[in-house]
């Protein structure tokens, strides 16, 4: 019985939690201090947004831009409960940034597991059918920073399962989960690297980390110089000074309090060091494979816009949905239509078909350069296309050759001008602005005005509408009533007769599969018959 048996529930919860997590950040005694600290960290906000934040007071800091983090967090929490059969922590404060979470409360974080256990759990509980997908998901969890391996020098390109089957993994402390309020800033990184170099940890620095350290320490020294005056940075003990100085600059930076808490026993301390190491491995990787590290343009916009927008749109949800009328019957009709479309056209879907019926040009080797000739050059369309004309009028009108055949047929019925008018109006819809006036005039003179050679047959009502539009305002859509009328006329009337006409029947007979298919070797007799038929058709065409 999985916790995740009802996907709807935990998705809603995850969304709520991500939403709440940010609201609750305000719900503390030291609300004033918290507010200031977070504004300082919000480097991306412009000045307007910052002043707005300070004014508004205790409101949302950032909307949950990354919905996926909320979802994955909920998944990890469920996993922690299940994988070790440990009861969830029952603390009233559900904040993950609370200072109470310093202590390693339950053994969730100290218990380790192998990659296989993790993948197995995912496969069993998340309805994943393939091992490949489960291991891929496990890899992503590791790369995002929710789970970390207990070894040094692991990179962001790690894939699970690793080659070492004994490698143990642990869950990361919720404090270090990727979220909006913990920023992996350079000063924090610098202090981490410095403390590692000085030997507090067992982990020696990598080459790239040494380079980073020099770089970030330089930025810190500039910081120091600016605040304390030039010269302080030349103090021989300046490296350790950095830590205390930056502590003063960002007095309420959570990260320091979290790290330097003296309330932990030695075994917990080792684990905390691991967690911190893992956090920095994820946030400052050698290769920049970090998942959501790059902010997209839409994220900048939302952060700059402020948060009232977010609230207002949220409250509107319930209101607009309620006013919609529910009409169960039409749903059935829509579903029937969709299913009908899918089943009708399934034979024309290259992704669904097998190779015998239709040779997909992409399956062939590019060296052989087998790209089917476009039917225009050969002069005759392919079988699939011709058959598709029979199924839908839209397909016939869409294809160039189809239009030619249709025009042939209409010539015999003396209603060719319908199609020509329709095509001209379609061109008018998306014609360049400079041509619009000329086109309207031309179409009117040629097809609609009483003095034209080839008037289209529309009823008086439509004609009146059009002339009214012509007088009041001439736009691209002036002829739209006539266009709609002609279109439905062609679809219901001429199209039906086209399908039984000799023109179409000849096309169906003569159509062939694209080059490259040898469906069956035609016998000699068949070739002769085919050639005769083609010649017959050509004769028909000419006459």
């Amino acid at each position: 019985m999985s916790v995740l048996s009802s996907t709807y529930n935990w998705r809603v919860k995850a969304w709520l939690r991500a939403y709440e997590g940010v609201l609750i950040a305000q719900d503390s005694d030291n609300s004033k201090e918290r507010k200031e600290e977070i504004v300082l960290n919000a480097g991306d906000l412009n000045d307007n947004a910052k002043t707005q934040l300070k004014k508004e007071g205790s409101f949302l800091i950032f909307p949950p831009r990354q919905f996926v983090i909320g979802q994955v967090s909920a998944l990890i929490m469920a996993m922690q409960n299940e994988i070790f059969h440990i009861k969830p922590r029952k603390s009233k404060k559900t904040t993950i940034n609370s200072r109470q979470s310093f202590r390693i409360k339950s053994s969730n974080e100290s218990e380790s597991f192998t990659a296989d256990m993790l993948i197995q759990w995912l496969e069993d509980n998340l309805d994943i059918s393939s091992y490949e997908e489960a291991s891929h998901l496990a890899t992503l969890l590791c790369r995002m920073g929710f789970v970390y391996p207990c070894k040094y020098d692991w990179d962001a390109t790690i894939t699970l399962p690793t080659e070492d089957p004994t490698l143990q993994f642990r869950f990361q402390n919720p404090y270090y989960w990727p979220n909006e309020t913990l920023s992996a800033s350079d000063t924090d990184y610098a202090s981490h690297l410095v403390s590692r170099e000085s030997g507090c940890y067992n982990a020696p620095l990598d080459e790239y980390e040494m380079v980073s350290m020099d770089h970030t320490v330089n930025t810190c020294t500039n910081c120091v110089d600016q605040c304390w005056g030039v010269g302080m940075s030349f103090n021989p003990k300046f490296k350790s000074l950095i830590i205390s100085v930056t502590k003063n600059i960002l007095p309420l930076n959570h990260y320091f309090y979290f790290r330097l808490s003296s309330q932990c026993n030695p075994s917990d301390k080792a684990i905390k060091q691991w967690q911190e190491y893992a956090f920095w491995r994820v946030n400052r990787p050698l290769t920049n494979h970090n998942l959501d590290s790059r902010v997209r343009p839409k994220d900048w916009n939302v952060m700059a816009r402020g948060l009232n927008r977010y609230f207002s749109s949220y409250v509107q949800v319930a209101v607009t949905d309620e006013t919609k009328s529910t009409n169960p019957r039409s749903i059935t009709a829509s579903c029937t239509r969709i299913i009908k479309t899918c089943t009708e056209w399934i034979n024309f879907d290259p992704l669904w078909q097998d190779e015998e019926e239709f040779k997909n040009p992409w399956h062939s080797d590019p060296a052989k350069r087998m790209w089917p000739e476009p039917s225009n050059i050969a002069g005759e369309p392919y079988k699939q296309e011709v058959v598709s004309w029979g199924l839908s009028f839209e397909k016939l009108i869409e294809s160039e050759i189809g239009r030619v055949y249709f025009q042939e047929h209409l010539k015999k019925e003396f209603s060719e001008e319908n199609l020509l008018f329709y095509l001209r109006c379609a061109y008018l819809h998306s014609a360049p602005l400079s041509e619009v006036d000329g086109l309207i005039k031309e179409i009117f003179e040629q097809y609609i005005s009483p003095s034209s050679d080839t008037p289209i047959n529309i009823d008086t009502q439509t004609a009146l509408k059009v002339s009214k539009l012509m007088k009041t305002k001439r736009t691209r859509h002036t002829f739209d009533p006539a266009v709609d009328h002609i279109y439905s006329l062609m679809k219901k009337d001429s199209y039906k007769r086209f399908l039984v006409s000799s023109v179409y029947k000849a096309a169906v007979r003569n159509a062939k599969h694209p080059v490259g298919i040898k469906k069956e070797k035609p016998g000699f007799a068949r070739i002769i018959v085919r050639m005769w038929r083609i010649s017959q058709f050509k004769v028909e065409k000419q006459s």
Binding site: L4, R11, V12, W15, L16, Q26, G57, S58, F59, Q66, F67, V68, Q71, L75, L122, D127, H136, L140, H289, P297, K298, N301, V302, R309, S312, Y314, Q316, V317, A318, D321, E322, T326, I331, T332, A333, C335, R337, I338, I339, T341, C342, T343, E344, W345, D349, P350, L351, W352, N360, W362, P366, R369, E394, H429, S430, P432, L433, S434, H477, V483
Partner: protein, 377 residues
């Protein structure tokens, strides 16, 4: 005093929020009662079973040096234009994987690119808030700058001589007040529809650069816009960061219908082949299908293991298959009418940013943040 006021405001807002959440849950529960995935129920009855999809990666297009953000097919079914974060736009012959042309824009994050129906020009836009149109060399059969894919990305030599004149031939068509997130040509080379981060969509005339029609109604960035495939259609759909999917009439510039059932930003919208329904993909990891006539959501494609957001969605030629490019580096393939997940396609090494079906439905192409494009068939 201030803190009291603040806490009062906070309380009432908190109450409002709880109420809104309750209403929302109730609505969703009601909706579930009315049509419990009716499409899927009917779909399972109609078809016996779903055959397996044999789709593999057939081509890998390497050449970009930055994340690939958008791509488009040409109507000749083999040429592709792709744009990336480093400002480069490449025109490829997908079949031979040769690069035919390269254009360097002075801006980064070229979010949108589109191929003209005639194949004679391309449009692109991004962080510069503009949509520009470039004419292409006449290269229907022969390519003037064909560089084999084994060499390094287009060397500066041939590109420079072309680039100088290309930038001169550039025409700036659209001007928005925020980044361009999507652009597409309408049924001809002369009109462009753009969607922008300033929460509007707009229709532009290419020759004069004039704004023909502007569509206001979204409350947050518009992420994608798609034109109706019907010949007589004057509709287009747009999806935005306010979780709304809107259907617009191009003649009147009004929003006819709007749907809001997603839990997070909508990243992509695509029409069903017949133009009666459309699908949207969102950051909450679900793909939802809405029907115009039924005026509601009729299908939701989700799984508990599909956690990551959808960046791009497309239908197969018949509409039977829905493909989604996700942020977990995979393409998940769904059966439209039964709602089953058919398969997941591995291959990319970073999130997939764009996915598009070729015009004849024989293959689809995906572009990813790992700087490559892959063609699958």
């Amino acid at each position: 005093m201030a803190s009291d006021k603040n806490s009062n405001r906070y309380d009432t807002l908190e109450n409002l929020r709880k109420e809104a959440e309750q209403l929302r849950k109730k609505l969703q529960a009601d909706r579930k009662n009315l049509n419990d995935a009716e499409l899927f129920v009917m779909g399972k009855k109609s078809e016996g079973g779903s055959p397996s999809i044999q789709v593999r990666c057939r081509r890998i297009l390497k050449g970009h040096t930055g994340k690939v953000l958008d791509m488009d097919w040409s109507l000749d079914k083999r040429r592709i234009v792709s744009s990336s974060q480093d400002g480069k736009i490449l025109v490829w012959d997908g079949f031979t994987t040769n690069k035919e042309q390269a254009i360097s824009l002075p801006t980064t994050w070229v979010n949108a690119c589109a191929y003209a129906p005639s194949g004679g020009s391309i449009a692109c836009g991004g962080l510069d808030n503009k949509c520009s149109v470039f004419p292409l060399n006449s290269s229907s059969n022969s390519s003037t700058l064909s560089v084999s894919n084994k060499q390094n990305p287009v060397s500066s030599g041939p590109a420079d001589t072309g680039a100088g004149t290309i930038m001169q031939q550039r025409k700036v068509v659209a001007m928005h007040t925020s980044y361009i997130s999507a652009c597409t040509f309408t049924h001809s080379d002369y009109q462009i529809l753009t969607a922008s981060g300033d929460s509007t969509c707009a229709l532009w005339d290419v020759e004069s650069g004039q704004l023909l029609q502007s569509f206001h109604g979204h409350q947050s960035d518009v992420m994608d816009a798609a034109l109706s495939p019907c010949e007589t259609g004057n509709l287009f759909i747009s999806g935005g960061c306010d979780k709304n999917a809107c259907v617009w009439d191009m003649r009147t510039a009004k929003c006819i219908q709007s749907f809001q059932t997603h839990n997070s930003d909508i990243n992509t919208v695509k029409w069903f082949p017949t133009g009666e329904a459309f699908a949207t993909g969102s950051d909450d990891g679900t793909i939802k299908m809405y029907d115009l006539r039924a005026d509601r959501e009729i299908a939701c494609y989700e799984r508990p293991n599909v956690l990551f957001g959808v960046n791009s969605v497309d239908f197969s030629a018949s509409g039977r298959i829905v493909l989604g490019g996700y942020n977990d580096y995979l393409v998940h393939v769904w059966d439209t009418i039964t709602g089953e997940k058919l398969t997941a396609l591995f291959g990319h090494e970073n999130r997939i940013s764009c996915l598009k079906m070729s015009p004849d439905g024989t293959s689809f192409c995906t572009g990813s943040w790992d700087t490559t494009l892959r063609i699958w068939a």
